[in-house]
Amino acid sequence: MPTILQRITAGDQTAAEDCVAEYGGLIWRLARRYLDRAESEVEDAVQDVFLELWIHADRFDPSKGSEAAFVATLAHRRIIDRQRKISTQRRNEHRAVAELKATVLKIPNISGDEAGIQQAPLYRKELARGFHELPKDEQTALWMSVYRGLSHRDISEITDTPVGTVKSRIRRAMIRMTKTLLGDSTELQCERSPS
């Protein structure tokens, strides 16, 4: 049974509607979070992402991960590009730090024991467990960076922490999560001075 992107690569036109139905919500929400709900920008961004999906559907390689993860990564990259373009002009209009604080700091409890996660692709369960086991400040920094697409500088402002500390928290979070994936037996150098 070919995946949606494989059907697109094969020229199956009915795959377009399925692709929008399956990943439209994920991409829409990602764009809204990253672009702070500037509606016209969000719509343009979603269109960009789908355009790239139609063009580059053949780049999806099922041996390297799930299709959803591929789509999410592609969307992330596209939307971050757009965010960088507009953030300098609109940061002050759209990003009131106080408003962001209220929404950004609500992190759901992810433990890896949730229903449905057992069937999730390769690393999802380990990822959830890894995230769950992160120290709170690292969890927050990673969440804001990945979930909200916030820059180190934004995170620094919201959490009232120096930018260097934010960077090292995210780095440590990444290494710890990778360590979870590697298994606890591997010793990793978690403490590194910020570069």
Partner: protein
């Protein structure tokens, strides 16, 4: 940039092998070293993290219906264009008009720029953190702006290509319609020709018929007819029979006292009838019709033509049987509707001339 990407790919490969418990010592060391050098999340981990966070998010807003519909539509078009043959070739559509905007060219340029900027930053600012940082920020912003340009161009190109494809589809549809109309037109033309040829045929048969009718209707020169008749009388097998009233036992003929005779040659299938005292007829109401009956009996009546008695005195009329008759047994004259009839009912009989009677 490409180094860190390759590292991430290698990391995922090693992670997968480790999950399967399939890792040598050397690979374990490589994994450890790669993981400690991470400075951004590998794509595959980032993707899974994004999906996981999204699934656990309170925000589960869906794509607006109108946007979803328009995305599906443009997706169908885009898939139709790529037609199951690898990635859409943006260069193919635009290379001639805009050779500098090819995607891979721009990315190659960015890579070169990145390398140059990175090397520059390393040479001049390796010991100076802030200078290095500044160079890095400059590089990042330059990279971002180039990436934006590339994205923008890609979007423009893809949109133009979609528009071009749609225009092509419209043109094809119009051409098909045009062809269909041409075919219909050709069919109509051929029907017209058919009808014209049928009309010509009908006209020609009508002309023939008119000619034949004219033979009967045109009054022939009486002197010529008399001469022709005289000549026929010299043919050895020509018989000459006098008319008598066509009386039936209890129904006398319409006209009594008609004089005259019929001469006929079986070998030439030609003959003349001659009358004196035949009542003139009005051709619009009725005509005289000649009947030739051969030896097979009264059932074999062959029309010898119609004629009018328009003048007083002697009338001579040639006999033209529609078909060959055998040895003639009897001639008869009846009165019929204008143009004559195929099958006489013998209700209006005038004269009869039995050959052996």
């Amino acid at each position: 940039m490409s180094d860190s990407h390759n590292n991430a790919e290698r990391l995922i490969e090693l992670l997968a092998a480790q999950q399967l418990g399939d890792l040598s010592h050397a690979e374990q060391d490589e994994l450890t070293s790669l993981a400690s050098e991470l400075d951004s999340l590998p794509d595959e981990i980032l993707g899974d993290l994004l999906v996981m966070f999204d699934q656990h998010s309170e925000d589960q807003e869906q794509l607006p219906k109108a946007l979803a519909d328009s995305l599906s539509k443009s997706g169908q078009t885009a898939i139709a264009i790529r037609g199951g043959s690898g990635p859409i070739n943006l260069q193919q559509a635009t290379a001639e008009n805009n050779p500098q905007s090819s995607e891979s060219g721009a990315w190659r340029w960015i890579s070169v720029a990145a390398a140059v900027i990175a090397i520059g930053a390393t040479v001049f600012g390796v010991s100076n953190y802030s200078a290095h940082n500044q160079a890095r920020q400059q590089f990042e912003s330059k990279l971002a702006s180039l990436q934006n340009k590339v994205t923008h161009n890609e979007t423009l190109l893809a949109n133009s290509r979609i528009a071009a494809a749609q225009a092509q589809i419209s043109i094809r549809t119009l051409e098909e319609e045009k062809q269909l109309q041409a075919t219909e037109l050709a069919q109509l033309e051929s029907t017209k020709l058919d009808l014209a040829s049928q009309l010509a045929e009908a006209t020609s048969s009508l002309d023939n018929a008119m000619d034949r009718i004219a033979v009967y209707e045109t009054p022939l020169d009486p002197a010529q007819l008399a001469e022709n008749r005289r000549q026929l009388l010299t043919v050895p097998d020509t018989v000459q029979i006098a008319w008598q009233p066509f009386d039936l036992p209890d129904a006398p003929a319409e006209q009594q006292g008609v004089q005259g005779d019929v001469i006929w040659s079986d070998s030439l299938q030609e003959g003349y009838i001659r009358f004196v005292g035949l009542e003139p007829n009005d051709p619009n109401i009725e005509q005289y019709q000649i009947w030739v009956i051969d030896e097979r009996g009264l059932e074999q009546k062959v029309s010898g033509g119609v004629f009018n008695a328009s003048a007083e005195g002697e009338i001579i009329v040639p006999i033209h049987p529609g078909i060959d008759v055998g040895r003639v047994a009897l001639f008869a004259i009846t009165v019929e509707d204008p143009g004559g009839t195929w099958v006489p009912d013998l209700s209006r009989r005038v004269v009869v001339a039995p050959r052996d009677g």
